[in-house]
């Protein structure tokens, strides 16, 4: 911006700073609120309500949680981590292979395969037939596989990866082919190393998808030992929501465990903990990956 910018121009710039600051603050505010409440004392929250500054700072809530349901949470963590790792690696490999094959122009039936993929986006049988097939034929009721396998092959991610692979010059492949390498070797040794940003971006998408998934657990899992973290949190929250809507008379709440305010927020923080640590570092690559993917679309 030049120093002798006109008044309207300075107004535009000023407005830009103001709007962006406010919106950015709004995006992070709930996180600060949650964090603050999780470190506040229960009595202070009950008295004054939520606030972004911790009231009577304490780590009691976290200690309380780990003393009472530490084992349960660790177990859920284990499930989520396992599902996320298996799902991300498996998903990357499966989608990567198809994306690579479809990026090879001389593959005659690649349009047929692309259509088979595309069609699943535009038309589906719906939830119920899908559910019945999963439960009756694949035995996915209360199975950890139900949390991994159905979302392993994401067609959108596959097409995104194909966009990246298509940018690699075919002459690189041809040289390897002349040397007698087969296409899997070329995929593994040439295409993948040349597409680290893409693999990182799509890998992150898979990782997020699996880390944040609770829907499959809602549908397939009753066994508490198989609850992923998000579903664990969902149960704590939906119990509370039911109470605050007045469905369950508060006098009858003796048999129901009532998680207190700070506990809910602390479990939320525990659930998003790894994301909080990782996201500032990974979001840069993510932005890069999406930018290049979106431009070439």
């Amino acid at each position: 911006m030049t120093k002798n910018a006109t008044l309207p121009d300075r107004l535009v710039t000023g407005f830009a700073y103001l709007f962006i600051s406010l919106f950015a603050a709004m995006c992070l505010y709930p996180l600060l609120l949650t964090l603050s409440v999780s470190f506040s004392s229960e009595q202070a929250i009950a008295r004054n309500g939520y606030s972004v500054i911790p009231q009577a700072f304490t780590t009691d809530t976290y200690r309380y949680i780990f003393a009472n349901s530490g084992e349960r949470i660790l177990r859920s963590y284990g499930i989520t981590v396992l599902v996320t790792i298996a799902g991300t690696l498996g998903g990357l490999l499966l989608t990567g292979m198809v994306a690579y094959a479809l990026s090879i122009k001389k593959l005659k039936y690649r349009n047929v395969i692309a259509f088979i993929c595309n069609f699943t986006i535009i038309f589906s049988a719906g939830l119920i037939p899908w559910y019945i097939v999963n439960v009756n034929y694949y035995g996915f009721k209360n199975s950890i596989l139900a949390l991994i396998v159905p979302s392993l092959f994401n067609v959108w991610n596959m097409f995104l990866l194909r966009t990246y692979f298509a940018q690699i010059s075919p002459s690189l492949y041809e040289a390897a082919e002349v040397d007698g390498a087969n296409h899997f070797t070329i995929f593994w040794r040439i295409a993948l190393p040349l597409s680290t940003t893409a693999m990182l971006t799509v890998g992150l998408m898979y990782a997020l998808q699996y880390w944040n998934d609770w829907w499959h657990a809602l549908i397939f899992v009753n066994d508490r030992d198989l609850f992923p973290l998000q579903y664990f949190l969902y149960n704590i929250l939906s119990n509370v929501n039911a109470i605050s809507s007045g469905r369950i008379p508060s006098g009858a709440s003796g048999s129901i465990t009532l998680p207190a305010e700070t506990v809910k927020m602390a479990v939320t923080i525990i659930t998003i903990g790894p994301i909080l640590f990782l996201y500032p570092f990974v979001q840069k690559y993510f932005v890069q990956g999406i930018m290049t993917g979106a431009v070439k679309e």
């Binding site: 049988a125 899908w130 995929f187 998934d213 431009v295």
Partner: protein, 316 residues
């Protein structure tokens, strides 16, 4: 044998098997992915038959009594929530589409006006945060804001001397809350797509505009906005094509199965899930099928429009 057929030179006459064998590794690489698609997308199509029957477990999918279109008729009858949930889905998605364009485009344009690099980086990563969390976590946050006793919203109302509202017992507010939560969650992410489009714009156009004395506002409305139009059109069409599909996770993550609020926020997707338990497999399959067919029609139309507007570029 292969050498012999190569000598004939008639490439098009070579059979399917020849092609499959020639590139067998490439085709084999597609097999695991395709198996998953068949398992989870194609085999379930057989179950669609249930929509036309009165399914019971004993007789199975194909043995149950055929009832024609009865399940569909019930959906549109007075007794069912059919019209209501369709309306809810359309309203929530309509505002999702409108605000899902206006807000991210505004963010992208304004971010482009900001010169401070570190400010830009910081705010951009802040705005990206909501993308990384699940709807359940969003639900927890919304609880923190709207809980009647300890929530932030009632605290703010209190400053202005307004009586606290029992949000979780008042269905009328929740469409708006859900629409806003949706914008909040996606805007930072979507703005990146527009920023990407803007990074491809020809800088010399802006230089020329400056020379001609155009101010920033004019540059934004005469250059940036018109050049963003193709991107906006494609994304809008894609979303309009999916307007009958709601976000199950969003609704259930935010309001759970809270029966008090369900009237206003039950969408087709959550209705299907709830009907599975109460009204049976056949009826809920029928609703799902109706949704899919509507979706197929709309997305095909949208694709056609996209081809017209964008010089033959379809959505897929």
């Amino acid at each position: 044998m292969i050498a012999a057929s190569e000598n004939t030179g008639k490439k098009k006459d070579r059979g399917v098997l020849y092609e499959l064998r020639r590139h067998r590794i490439l085709y084999l690489m597609c097999v695991p992915g395709l198996i998953l698609l068949v398992m989870f997308c194609y085999i379930p199509f057989a179950g669609v038959w249930m929509a036309f029957t009165d399914f019971n477990v004993v007789d199975g999918i194909f043995g149950s009594k055929f009832v024609g279109l009865d399940n569909f008729k019930y959906f549109f009858s007075e007794n069912s929530m059919g019209w209501k949930v369709t309306y809810n889905t359309l309203v929530i998605n309509f505002w999702g589409i409108v605000l899902g364009i206006v807000v991210p485009v505004t963010i992208a344009i304004l971010l482009n006006e900001i010169r401070g690099k570190s400010f830009k980086k910081l705010t951009q990563s802040m705005m990206f945060f909501p993308y990384f969390i699940s709807w359940v976590v969003v639900g927890a946050i919304i609880y923190g804001i709207f809980s009647s006793d300890v929530g932030v919203a009632n605290g703010i109302l209190g400053w202005f001397g307004i009586e606290p509202i029992r949000w979780y017992s008042e269905p009328k507010y929740w469409k708006e809350i859900i629409i806003l939560a949706n914008v909040w969650k996606w805007s930072g992410y979507s703005s990146i797509i527009y920023l990407a489009a803007m990074s491809g714009f020809d800088g010399s156009l802006y230089e020329a505009a400056k020379v001609d004395g155009a101010n920033k506002l004019q540059q934004i409305f005469r250059l940036t906005v018109p050049m963003l139009k193709p991107t906006v059109i494609v994304l809008t069409l894609l979303n309009v094509g999916r307007i009958f599909y709601g976000d199950f996770g969003m609704i259930y993550g935010i309001v759970g199965n809270n029966p008090v609020l369900s009237e206003e926020v039950t969408i087709i997707d959550t209705y299907v899930y709830q009907s599975m338990r109460t009204l049976g497999f056949s009826y809920s399959t029928a609703i799902g099928l109706l949704q899919s067919v509507m979706g197929l029609i709309l997305i095909t139309l949208a694709n056609g429009i996209s081809k017209k507007v964008n010089d033959g570029e379809g959505l897929f």
